[in-house]
């Protein structure tokens, strides 16, 4: 186990940020701490880094007790949401910072910086200042800077949170590929379930200072341990007495064995998908998602009376 967290508690005044956290993060994996804002995931990451000290409990990194080790001695790479670029230093000097502090010989520093510039595709920007880079480039620079010290663990705090949607997606794919190349134990914080599901090897869902569930993306999605996990990982609707994903509902214009039936009362087209609302007489309103092709094949229209039932193999939680 690369990072072992036992019994960690943290308060900020009256606010309980973390409560009895026990967590083992395996070596070499890409782990996501996922949860809503204010849930404690960033605090946990900062406690691992040593930027914050836990009120009680212990943190062990690669067998070494790091609970009271200052941040300088932990050899962790930390990437901040807003890059924390050294504004007065060029991209190359930013990346070289940790190595200069470690007093490595200049030739070695140059070689290492060159290597990292290639890795993050910033070779041609080596002599620019951070202010001359785009957000995505700055974050790649910050990542190279953190990797330069060959950290035991790489910690990323909402690394793509400040970027626009398109760059975010590119960088996400890139981070996944990068991790497959360098294999450093990586923990990243995100509130975006899609990001976590797409990138992480394993996901830790944190809410209100507690761990809700730990598992692979598939485990979490297919076997949510609680209503919170189910609803946090994707849209959820209520079909009669069950919670279910809107795309896991089978919809038909013909009478069949069903959980509920009623007219289509709302029709919203979003790109390839159509979001419907069905209002049964004796049940609460149901949201159903179908693709445009399905809607055409089934001959659905606003106002049609439809019968709904869970699709075969759908995840459900009794409400």
């Amino acid at each position: 186990m690369s990072i072992e967290i036992s019994d960690v508690n943290k308060h900020f005044g009256d606010f309980v940020a973390l409560r009895d956290i026990d967590l083992n993060i395996p070596t070499g994996q890409l782990t996501a701490l996922l949860g809503p804002s204010g849930g404690g995931k960033t605090t946990l990451l900062r406690i691992i880094a040593g930027l914050e000290e836990a009120d009680s409990g212990s943190v062990v990194i690669e067998g070494q007790d790091a609970t009271h080790l200052p941040v300088q001695k932990r050899n962790v790479g930390f990437v901040f949401q807003h890059y924390a670029a050294f504004k007065h230093l060029s991209v190359a000097r930013n990346i070289a910072f940790g190595l200069e502090i470690r007093k490595r010989p200049p030739a070695e520093i140059n070689a290492k910086v060159g290597e990292l510039l290639d890795l993050v595709h910033l070779r041609q920007f080596a002599h620019r200042l951070p202010s001359q880079l785009s957000g995505g480039q700055r974050q790649r620079m910050a990542l190279a800077r953190a990797l330069a010290i060959e950290p035991t663990v790489l910690l990323l705090d909402e690394p793509f949170g400040a970027l626009d949607a398109k760059v975010r997606k590119e960088l996400r794919d890139w981070l996944r590929r990068l991790h497959d190349e360098v294999h450093v134990t990586t923990v990243f914080v995100t509130h975006d379930q899609e990001e976590a599901l797409e990138v992480a090897d394993s996901i830790v869902v944190i809410n209100e200072g507690r761990i809700e569930q730990i598992g692979t993306p598939d485990e979490l999605y297919d076997e949510p341990a609680s209503e919170f996990v189910l609803s946090f990982l994707g849209p959820v609707t209520r079909l009669a007495d069950q919670l279910i994903r809107p795309h896991d509902i089978e919809i038909s214009r013909y009478e069949q064995a069903s959980s509920a039936n009623g007219p289509i009362t709302r029709w919203t087209r979003v790109g390839f998908e159509i979001r419907l609302e069905v209002t049964p007489v004796d049940h609460p309103l149901v949201q159903v998602t179908v693709t445009r092709a399905e809607a055409t094949a089934l001959g659905l229209h606003l106002g049609d009376h439809v019968w709904l039932r869970p699709a075969v193999g759908a995840d459900r939680v009794r409400a």
């Binding site: 880094a49 040593g50 930027l51 200052p70 941040v71 300088q72 932990r74 050899n75 962790v76 790479g77 930390f78 901040f80 807003h82 924390a84 670029a85 050294f86 504004k87 007065h88 910072f97 940790g98 502090i101 470690r102 202010s131 910050a142 800077r145 953190a146 330069a148 010290i149």
Partner: protein, 279 residues
């Protein structure tokens, strides 16, 4: 940077022109014209008055003393100012607001009061601490240390006022990043914090220097105004003027004003450069 957001573009009606004219006339009458007159009076007899100033050893001594006091006070206030700014922005402690208010006191209290207060503490015969220092062979009042103290007192908050907002603005993330990369607090300060507030420190230094050179009231009380010993340039201006040696008074005044004008010029050049660098 922020200024461009605050400027309203277009629509300059008659009110705008009236306001502009008012501002220009006001500045002309209050600042530009009187200062210009000092310059013209200095050169009434060509370079004669300036030569008289530089050939009088006592006046040269006064100028030297002013420069020395201003330089030492600036060094003290820069080191102290950067340290206190870090304390105010980066740490929490009881009494912080009181300290912050206390730091502005030198700007609001009359320099004469400052001078008298210093005499009460450091005065050689009756001061609270002065006799002790005197017994150690250190004379403060009526001597150079007193002049430096008074000068440092009146220009105390200038560096702090420049550095504090900049420190707030840069935040702590860069410093935390440096720490996470293995830098000690001292390395973080020299490599990250200080370069980030460099321009603010430079402005603070220039303002402190200009303010220190021009100090009159506090220095007058603590220096004793001894010719050739504790008379500073500003005191020399007064002395010459009262002794009907107006041309030399104007010449010294011209030199003092010149330093301030150069200081302001340096600041505006640096500011515009910084703007270019950051955009």
């Amino acid at each position: 940077m922020a200024e461009s957001h605050l400027t309203r573009h277009g629509r300059s009606g008659p009110v705008t022109y009236l306001l502009r004219a008012f501002a220009i006339v006001y500045l002309l009458l209050l600042v530009a014209w009187p200062v210009a007159l000092v310059v013209t009076h200095t050169f009434d007899d060509g370079l004669e008055s300036l030569r008289a100033v530089f050939s009088d050893p006592d006046t040269v001594h006064a100028l030297r003393l002013s420069v020395l006091a201003a330089a030492v006070a600036t060094v003290i206030n820069t080191v102290f100012g950067v340290g206190v700014s870090l304390l105010l922005v980066r740490t929490e402690f009881p009494g912080k607001r009181l300290l912050s208010a206390l730091l502005d006191l030198p700007l609001s209290v009359s320099p004469i009061v400052v001078g008298l207060a210093l005499v009460l503490v450091y005065g050689g015969r009756t001061g609270w601490f002065g006799p002790t220092l005197e017994s150690w062979g250190i004379q403060v009042i009526f001597s150079t240390p007193g002049i430096i103290l008074a000068t440092a007192f009146v220009s105390l908050p200038l560096v702090i006022r420049e550095v504090v907002p900049t420190l707030r603005e840069i935040g702590i993330e860069q410093e935390q990043a440096a720490l996470s990369l293995g830098a000690s607090s001292w390395q973080t300060f020299w490599r990250i914090t200080l370069p980030s507030v460099k321009w603010a420190v430079v402005y603070g230094v220039v303002l402190t220097l200009a303010r220190s050179l021009g100090e009159f009231g506090a220095v007058k009380v603590v220096s004793g105004n001894v010719l050739g010993e504790t008379r500073t340039a500003t005191l020399a201006v007064e002395e010459k003027y009262l002794n009907f040696n107006a041309s030399e008074a104007y010449a010294i005044a011209f030199l003092l004003a010149g330093v301030s004008v150069v200081a302001i010029a340096i600041i505006s050049i640096l500011r515009s450069r910084e703007k270019k660098a950051s955009s």
